[in-house]
Symmetry: C2
Subunit: 172 residues, 2 copies
């Protein structure tokens, strides 16, 4: 079992965007630079986050990305599902009905117990991800991470964020 590498990049970008002022945006290229990623690779994932309405992309000279809603209302589950898709990790191929002793379809109405047990464990996983709010991740970073890292991160955001002309109405 393996999550795509895009998950790490997507969460880091969302956490960075939680730090901008008001409705400012950060260009995708700046975030790619911050994490040493290829811009085209990162854009793919940023666009997935936009499609899932976790980010908003703004075009034009002050364009870039920003959170589509406050970080309190974005969870790691939102981000993981946006990047990895909503399908469960365990995909039952109904092998119980593949053998030569295949029964009438009515014998398979109840889901296979093995499938049910695997999906139950995934619900526990998703529940834990749903409890992890982006705002908590950022708050813990600000208090727990090495102060040099926090200072560098804040300086990066201050340098690369692009304020918007219209007055800000969004609270982050």
């Amino acid at each position: 079992m393996k999550l795509g590498e895009g998950v790490e990049a997507a969460i880091h970008c969302a956490a960075m965007l939680a730090g901008v002022e008001g409705e400012a945006t950060i260009p995708g290229a700046a975030m790619a630079e911050a994490f040493g990623l290829s811009p085209s690779y990162l854009l793919k994932h940023l666009n997935m986050l936009s499609a899932a309405r976790i980010l908003e992309s703004v075009s034009g000279p002050a364009g870039g990305y920003r959170l589509a809603r406050p970080a309190e209302r974005i969870t790691l589950l939102d981000i993981v599902l946006a990047v990895e898709g909503r399908e469960p990790a365990f995909r039952c191929g109904e092998i119980r009905r593949n053998g030569p002793a295949r029964l009438d379809v009515s014998a398979y109405v109840k889901p296979c117990g093995i499938n049910a047990a695997m999906l139950k464990a995934e619900r526990a996983y998703r529940a834990a991800l749903a409890e992890a709010k982006l705002s908590d991740i950022v708050a813990e970073y600000m208090t727990d991470a090495d102060p040099r890292s926090v200072a560098a991160g804040c300086a990066f955001v201050a340098r690369h964020q692009r304020p918007q002309k219209s007055s800000s109405t969004k609270q982050t």
Copy 2:
């Protein structure tokens, strides 16, 4: 995120092997037939289960596979880790230190909070899998599954199990 298809086959085979009498074995080819799988595909996964000491393989004319310990002491987590490997699904690539503002290595001693949150969710997943004992899966199958399916499964095991010459000492 996706688990390999081998997980479904591995759990179904282990559940089937929980039904043999005493130290009897079932040949891999019979299990492949039962689930409509290619024998070589299935053997790969049966061998992973043997390497993880979940199954025992017996060679010779009465050869095949059997559980290496009682089904009460085998969990879905044991089987998933045997087939998928023990690495976490989320693999931190330490992208926080990839940018141009890379700090001294001492700034990264603490694990990244994003990595910590992702691994915490995986611990919840694994804990749920560890709670699912193979014996419970089988007991629920016997009581909850369609009676035709249970009858067909028991008949299949009765037909394909190979009793061992030596007297049985293992309790399953």
